[in-house]
């Protein structure tokens, strides 16, 4: 529950969501993200810190450069949560159908 909330909070900010999505499939240094989103470097760093805290992003250091990339496992709590509701009602109503038969 805590994990889902942290993910929702982290991705609820449009800038953070955009940064997160832009990291899909390719890592990037802070400088590239600053240029891509036209926001200041401290703001980008702050967003990345929030994404890291939520487990959505990882960092790789190479000398003085830091490269950010998605943590593919980071979304798992959210996926589990959505999967639950995708399956929940059809499964329950199947049981309701069985109960109605027994009620005859």
């Amino acid at each position: 529950m805590q994990k889902q909330s942290a993910i929702f909070r982290a991705l609820g900010d449009p800038s953070r969501l955009a940064i997160f999505e832009s990291l899909a499939g390719r890592e990037a240094p802070v400088k590239a993200l600053t240029a891509r989103f036209k926001i200041t470097q401290p703001a980008v760093s702050q967003h990345l810190a929030a994404l890291r805290k939520a487990g959505l992003v990882t960092v790789r250091r190479d000398g003085r450069m830091a490269f950010y990339s998605l943590n593919p496992a980071g979304l798992k709590p959210l996926v589990d949560w959505l999967a639950h509701y995708r399956a929940f009602w059809p499964e329950r109503v199947a049981r309701l159908g069985a109960l109605l038969k027994e009620m005859d």
Binding site: R9, A24, H84, Y85, M103
Partner: protein
């Protein structure tokens, strides 16, 4: 799966009359047999719960309240808590439509937005907008 407006819409054809389906939806001892243990009341406004076995992402308790009860046509209750406890504040509405040979049972589970303002809206928007791109790729990797 939440649709674009933050709700799940589903419907089923049941070969049973609305009055009987209504009983299964509103009699706590019957509801316990297909949905969850509950102390669902017969009047609006009183708090009650649905209770299931606790799971890894969920304490098993759904907090509820009857919002609309119009037998045997419409039953609506709050659905708060559930998996992701701190973020779910939703409404479940059942509509029973008499049809030839039984009942069409319609479900709308609406309000998939957390208290934290647009958090879920933002996440979901990203989710749906990015089918085929960013998130979809991440999800595919995880499958």
């Amino acid at each position: 799966m939440p649709a674009g407006d933050g709700s799940i819409h589903l419907s089923w054809q049941l070969p049973h009359p609305p009055a009987k389906v209504w009983r299964a939806l509103s009699d706590p001892s019957l509801v316990a047999r297909w949905l969850m243990e509950t102390d669902m009341p017969t009047e609006r406004g009183r708090a009650f719960t649905f209770r299931a076995k606790p799971m890894p992402h969920w304490d098993g308790i759904v907090h509820s309240e009857i919002l609309d009860m119009d037998p045997p046509r419409r039953l609506s209750y709050a659905w708060k808590g559930g998996p992701g406890n701190s973020v779910l504040d939703t409404v479940v509405t059942w509509t029973l439509v008499p049809v030839d040979g039984g009942t069409r049972l319609e479900l709308v589970h609406s309000g998939f937005k957390p208290e934290h303002g647009q958090a879920f809206g933002g996440a979901k928007f990203g989710w749906e907008r990015n089918v085929g791109t960013g998130l979809a790729g991440v999800l595919a990797d995880m499958a």
